[in-house]
């Protein structure tokens, strides 16, 4: 049988995509469906004799009455909002700075990228040590040698939460900055020139010219940062283990604890499914705001 050139090209194109499809289908999409399946069964790893009885939506009903789950959800949302807010603000500042041409820009860029490149586990241990109640730099900076005033930052619910926010903002602001930088259009100098002649202040120029033009870039940075903040895990695992009093317990950590520490594969999977749905809704919302153009253009 003879195929036309176009058909042959399509077959070739598909065969080149096959390995990629296989990985993504087997280890990303199938597991999502499998999570839905697991969430409708009662499965306890430590009790294999129990089998896996089908329980319908019981696990979901239990989840809605689970106060720690609700608490983790609120913590996660709070974490997402505060970190993305500060990261976008600092990221914007970083983008505006590294976008300029000046001597040593390469080194400044590299230095600002260091926090992004450091393994999260390392930066978590680092911040845990900086917030240490006895040997930490934070106490030293605030109270100097007055050791009686030293605070156990990570043992207090309020300050522990602030500590993980600080650690995350430090680590990812530069990445947010890069995302914004990538979307920074070349804004013609004439625009600013004209604004200056009309007597616009620097702040007005920023608000009326720069900000509207970089809005798409900021939205994309927001999307990426929001999704990433949702899966915060390493920081919490290393710095606080969700404590004290669940004040830093977040959804991914709670799900991990239920599935792997307590072996509640069925119940834990309801958390997995809910987290997936929440992030899906948020990303669809963002992508509609940004516009689908970005995919279509890419796929040509």
């Amino acid at each position: 049988m003879k195929f036309s050139i176009l058909t042959r090209e399509r077959i070739f194109a598909l065969s080149l995509l096959t390995p990629c499809f296989l990985f993504v289908a087997l280890f990303a999409f199938y597991p999502i469906l499998y999570s839905v399946y697991l969430s409708m069964h009662k499965i306890i790893l430590s009790l294999p004799g129990l089998g896996r009885p089908f329980v319908g939506l019981d696990n979901y009903r239990a989840l809605f009455h689970d106060r720690i789950a609700l608490h983790s959800f609120i913590n996660t949302m709070l974490f997402v909002f505060t970190t993305t807010f500060f990261e976008i603000v600092f990221g914007l500042a970083i983008a505006l700075v590294i976008n300029k041409h000046f001597m040593g820009r390469g080194i400044v860029r590299a230095a600002i990228l260091v926090p992004w490149a450091i393994p999260t586990v390392v930066s978590s241990q680092m911040w845990r040590f900086i917030f240490h109640d006895k040997y930490g730099l934070m106490n030293y900076m605030f109270f100097g040698s007055d050791t009686s005033a030293y605070t156990a930052w990570l043992a207090d619910p309020g300050t522990a939460f602030i500590a993980i926010v600080v650690a995350d903002v430090w680590k990812t602001s530069s990445f947010a900055g890069l995302l914004i930088l990538a979307g920074l259009p070349i804004i013609p100098d004439d625009l600013y020139e004209a604004a200056r002649i009309d007597g616009a202040s620097a702040w007005q120029q920023f608000r009326k010219i720069t900000l509207p033009l970089i809005k798409p870039a900021i939205l994309i940075a927001l999307l990426f940062r929001t999704m990433d903040a949702f899966r915060v895990f390493d920081l919490v695992f290393v710095m606080t283990q969700g404590g004290p009093a669940d004040s830093t317990n977040v959804l991914q950590f709670y799900g991990y604890k239920k599935i792997f520490a307590e072996g509640l594969m069925g119940y834990g999977s309801t958390i997995s499914v809910m987290v997936f749905l929440i992030t899906l809704i948020i990303s669809v919302f963002y992508i509609r705001m940004i516009g689908m153009g970005m995919f279509q253009e890419k796929g040509r």
Binding site: P31, K100, A110, T120, S123, H132, S269, S272, T279
Partner: protein, 272 residues
């Protein structure tokens, strides 16, 4: 006015650089302190400059063993992801195919999955296959999660190459496959290299799946080792700082050497 702006700009830049580097410099300093200095109250600013913590991290905490595992896992992830991304990226950028936009969008979705939504099933699949606590058991999820990044970057690079080159190669009688590997891949080498750096950094730094899949110390990677460092009575902060420095120095070197590529690659993966 212009001068004041300039000075302000330099001050802002300076503060940014200091804030970015200071916490880590402090931790590196901690790794160079003696055991007494590490636990001094209030903290000692200037370390004695001893390598004791490094020696102890190597001798008592098996640091080099974790380094070796990390190199194996991150290295194989990088090679496999790149091979698959090259052919997939080429296909999506240069060949006639339907639903390209949808495929790229689906890949982007995968890169945004919260890991917890697939963690339980991935763990079960690996358990059924008997692949928990094995290098390939960790490399497979890593390849899956880094493919979107690799494909997006490489599709971007392939897409920008001029069409005439490919046509010329075809006229000379090259098959699709020859065109890809003899003509296109060498031309897209900067993209391949950029993707390699980013995938390597991802796999080197990843913690969540490594924690789930590698429960035996024999297979654990550096991040897992560092997160679970535990002394007999207290936390060995000097050793943790030393291991952290060892885990970070290669990555920081990559950043300083290839800052331009990383900036370009990250933005290609995100917006274009």
């Amino acid at each position: 006015m212009k001068k004041i702006n300039r000075i302000l700009f330099y001050i802002t830049t300076f503060i940014m650089v200091v804030l970015s580097l200071l916490p880590f410099v402090w931790f590196v300093g901690t790794s160079l302190k003696t055991a007494l200095e590490v636990t001094a109250i209030p903290p000692v600013i200037v370390p004695a400059g001893t390598l004791d913590s490094y020696k102890s991290a190597i001798d008592e905490y098996n640091l080099l063993h974790f380094v070796k595992n990390s190199i194996i896992v991150a290295g194989s992830t990088t090679v496999i992801t790149l091979l698959i991304s090259i052919i997939a990226g080429y296909s999506l950028a240069r060949l006639r195919l339907k639903y390209k936009g949808m495929i790229m969008g689906a890949l982007l979705l995968v890169s945004m999955f919260p890991q917890i939504s697939i963690a339980g099933p991935v763990w079960r699949i690996l358990q059924d296959l008997g692949w928990l606590n094995s290098f390939h058991g960790l490399v497979i999820p890593y390849v899956t999660l880094t493919l979107p990044l690799g494909v997006w970057i490489l599709a971007g690079f392939f897409g920008e190459l001029p069409e005439e080159l490919e046509d010329a190669a075809r006229l000379d009688g090259c098959s699709h496959f020859q065109t890809l590997f003899r003509i296109m891949v060498p031309l897209a080498a900067p993209g391949v290299f950029t993707a390699a750096i980013l995938v390597f950094i991802y796999a080197w730094n990843e913690f969540f799946f490594a924690l789930l899949i590698m429960t035996q110390q024999k297979f654990q990677t550096l991040p897992v080792g560092i997160a679970l460092f535990q002394g007999q009575y207290t936390l060995p902060w000097g050793e943790i700082a030393a291991a952290s420095t060892v885990a970070t120095v290669p990555i920081v070197l990559l950043v300083f050497l290839f800052q331009k590529r990383i900036v370009g690659g990250l933005s290609a993966g995100a917006v274009k």
